[in-house]
Amino acid sequence: MATTPSRARASALPGFSVLLDKELLEARRSKRMLVFLLAMTACLVLVATVGYLRIEHFGAAGRHQVSGNGMDTMLGSWTALVGFLGSLMVIASTVDAMSRERSLGISAWIVTKPVSRLSYLGAKAVAHSLIAIAMLVALPTAIWLAMMLALFQDVPLGRIAVAALILCVEMGFLSFFIVALGVPFRSVPPIAMIGLGVWFLPNFVPAIESLRWSYHLLPSYLPLAALSVAVADDTRAFMYTVPLASIGIAAALFAAAVVMFERQEL
């Protein structure tokens, strides 16, 4: 709809909603995200199916009782698939978000319009986060959960909800982080290498005694935090510190990227 001059007013993020719509429309038309959605959903359906097939003694009820270990295995498989496979998928889908448009001159074209560079970067990061959450967490998990509730008794809905929330934080962190990397690096290889490195290298931290404190803060431990929430009854501090620290780190990295982008020649 057109906005008449009298209705128009200054915006803190001029053009943000239009740019967000553009990114979301692009994602809806992207075959890559559809493939990722189907792959993730298929994997999770397989988890529930295998869990069902491993039941040795079926009761008379419509839904079946599984042992604690059996349920934990399925919950662990869910968090591992969404947390680790999902992280690879979100990196793959976001890695060229900036570089492609910059190399084609589309970024320069857009920022000559009445939009701020913060809006441009912000819309990209928010859109990729929303898409990753919807396509890699929400939709596949909803289908998996529907199967779980249909097949099994005592599905821990509360713990799954909290774990899913942590996985959403993970998708958001990775989206903001990879989009931010697109500011200093103009081509895909360094963005991919740094993104994967930052995500997977801290897995060696537990082997280094003096660095173990860091897994209370490092975003790489988000999948582990989600796993712990899903399968463990006891509460551990890092289940909460890691998501909060991740949000803070993502905000700081993104702010630095915005400052750099404001000064960059396009």
């Binding site: 057109a2 589309i106 320069a108 074209w109 319009k113 009445p114």
Partner: protein, 363 residues
């Protein structure tokens, strides 16, 4: 009927003809632009600087390389300004600074009197821009590109869909509007680029090589569009290598070389007739004509220009132009030579350009 046939025969877009003598074409063209050209309306209500663009001592360095070396530039509002220069002369760098895509090392630059550094995001609706080699998201259709751009200008008075329709009509892309622009030819992308540059109803349009990828008909259409924009009070800053196009439409030009403006002024001044030189064209053979002309008291020099088939062209320098206008043709006719033309020699933009660039190189 005759007018419509003319348009259909000669142009891809009948409405883009723009020939003043074809009232129907002009009316349609004006109607197509009515929604886009709000700059004139704004000019009635807003205090507007009479200078669309001004650059003062603008410099830009990339390490040891000095891309701009004290550029001074002034573009009057409401004009078409041809921005010329060889590759690497600093044209695109200047445009980038004007659009806020690059920061100058020193110097100042303003648009409509407002310094570029104070040009915040929302004020950019004043300026429409077409890049040298425009690219758009390949998955978007031409119409979606225009809707996307149109929505970025919430202050525009006309609804986005209307603006997009008029812009597509203007650049003759209606037939391809719903095709993905990934499949557009370079010329179509250029046309779409002009359309999107007008979506914000700008006061100033900056076009970087707008006709470089177009065929002759497309180029003519672009020139017609530029003239119409000027009629509507929109300033057009137009960077190009095609000197003939500039000669046909520009009111003012600036020639860049090695990061400096080496020539700037109105086309009328620069292209003004050289009162002391006449171009004489006669039918061959014209034995003894050169000697005859050299013997005339008001002729100081005669120089043969490039001959063509059955014609001879001479450049005649005279001391008294007013007298030469009458006496020179008479002397030629009296010598029993068939006179085809005799007129004061006008400067050609190509000569001015080559001379300016050579002077700049020597400086």
């Amino acid at each position: 009927m005759h007018r419509e046939r003319h348009c259909e025969r000669t142009l891809r877009a009948p409405r883009l003809c723009g020939e003043p003598r074809h009232a129907l074409c002009t009316e349609e063209l004006v109607a197509a632009l009515a929604a886009l050209a709000l700059a004139a309306d704004r000019a009635d209500s807003d205090p507007v600087s009479d200078t669309a663009i001004r650059c003062e001592q603008l410099t830009k360095s990339y390490g040891a390389v000095r891309a701009l070396d004290g550029v001074d530039l002034s573009m009057p509002a409401g004009s078409i300004f041809g921005f010329l220069g060889p590759n690497g002369s600093g044209k695109t760098t200047t445009i980038k600074i004007l659009l806020g895509l690059a920061q100058p090392t020193s110097g100042r630059c303003s648009i409509s009197g407002v310094p570029v550094e104070q040009y915040h995001a929302e004020s950019r609706s004043e300026v429409g821009y077409l890049a040298q080699d425009p690219s758009y998201p390949r998955w978007m259709t031409g119409r979606e590109v225009l809707h996307f751009v149109g929505r970025l200008y919430p202050r525009a008075a006309t609804p986005v869909a209307d603006r997009a329709r008029e812009a597509l009509h203007l650049v003759d892309l209606e037939g391809a509007a719903d095709r993905a622009c990934g499949g557009y030819s370079a010329g179509m992308r250029q046309r779409l680029g002009i359309a999107q540059a007008l979506m914000g109803e700008p006061r100033l349009v900056v076009l970087d090589e707008p006709s470089s990828s177009l065929d002759p008909i497309g180029r003519r259409d672009v020139l017609a569009i530029l003239r119409t924009l000027r009629e509507r009070g929109i300033s057009v800053f137009y960077s190009t290598h095609i000197l003939d196009d500039v000669e046909r439409v520009a009111d003012y030009i600036a020639i860049m070389n090695a990061g400096r403006v080496v020539r700037e002024g109105s086309m009328r001044e620069l292209m003004s007739a050289d009162e002391g030189r006449f171009r004489v064209t006669v039918e061959a053979p014209a034995n003894g004509l050169v000697q005859l002309l050299e013997a005339l008291p008001f002729v100081s020099r005669v120089e043969a220009d490039a001959p063509a088939d059955d014609r001879i062209a001479l450049l005649v320098d005279v001391s008294d132009a007013a007298h030469a206008k009458r006496a020179l043709p008479r002397a030629i006719v009296d010598a029993d030579v068939v006179l085809i033309g005799c007129a004061p020699e006008r400067s050609r933009l190509e000569d001015i350009f080559m001379e300016s660039v050579a002077d700049g190189d020597n400086a």
